[in-house]
Amino acid sequence: TVGAVAVDKDGQIVAGTSTGGMTNKKFGRVGDVPIVGAGTYASNEVAVSMTGWGEKIMQAVSGHTVSAYMKHKPATVQEAGNYLLQDVLNEGEAGMIAVDKNGNTYLNMNTQGMFRGTSDSEGNRKVAIW
């Protein structure tokens, strides 16, 4: 699974995810990626793309959970991402990237690793795996 989230100079905020699914997948099983609100979600608060164990990501309605937590708590994207990965999902289940409407970014996982990268107009830039 691959994903990207971005906010541009006009305040457009977008989430995208694409996947080849799961090895040995049967019976037309569908994972979280194409389920709006689960593996891919964007509101006027935040854009979220998930990766990992699709069934768990769907059960947690992950992307929407992050957005609702930010809007109604209220909370930052860091607090909402940590809530999802540490309180809602279990160890080893998922990775998450997100950007909020102000360009604050979040990239974290409760798995051993996640291929990830981030960059912004203030020159903050990094690529990581573990």
């Binding site: 100079k9 995208g16 099983r29 569908v30 194409p34 107009s121």
Partner: protein, 183 residues
């Protein structure tokens, strides 16, 4: 901030024993993917174009499980999914179970921008794609040696474990999720 971009290439149990050359190659490709999006955003381009172009780059890169490099289904084929969503007006386009679309995220965007619907599945999604000038490929295009080996291993393991159905039948006691379900 004028703009911000975050990308991922998948999460899971990524072995730390990978040789340095492999780690460097992955980091270089993630770097390249970032550059694709940065160029668009720096020049005042849209987040939609940046997200689609970054994911096109990753879909075309056989290292990642999307597009070229997609894993194998039980039947030895490839079924791809993608979704894109614009938060400002909550417009979204998603597709699932496509087999001939080289860049699924681009079809998802076409759904978002041209259809009154949000999600198309399987043959319906393929048929919807026919009205656009979208690159189509056959299933061999998605083949990579490493994913083929992983598929063979999964089939072997399944034979040893007994027919582990991936359909969750009612009545299976306890935790019916099988660790092998990690996408």
């Amino acid at each position: 901030k004028d703009w911000a971009l975050v990308i991922h290439g998948g999460a899971g149990t990524i072995s730390k024993e990978k040789p340095d050359s492999v780690v460097k190659a992955y980091k270089s490709d993630l770097d390249e993917a970032l550059s694709v999006g940065e160029k668009i955003l720096k020049e005042g381009g849209s987040a939609l174009d940046a997200v689609e172009s970054v994911i096109n780059y990753l879909e075309n890169n056989p290292k990642f499980n999307a597009g070229k490099g997609a894993v194998f289904t039980h039947d030895g084929g490839h079924e791809l999914d993608a979704a894109i969503m614009l938060g400002n007006n909550r417009k979204a386009g998603t597709i699932t179970g496509v087999k001939t679309i080289k860049n699924p995220i681009s079809l998802a965007r076409l759904v978002m921008e041209n259809s009154k619907h949000i999600m198309f599945a399987g043959e319906g999604a393929e048929e919807y794609a026919n009205q656009f000038d979208l690159e189509r490929v056959n299933q061999e295009y998605f083949y990579t040696e490493s994913r083929h080996k992983a598929w063979k291993r999964a089939i072997e393991e399944e034979k040893q474990d007994g027919a582990q159905s991936s359909v969750i039948e009612p009545g299976i006691p306890g935790d019916f999720f099988d660790e092998k379900k990690l996408g």
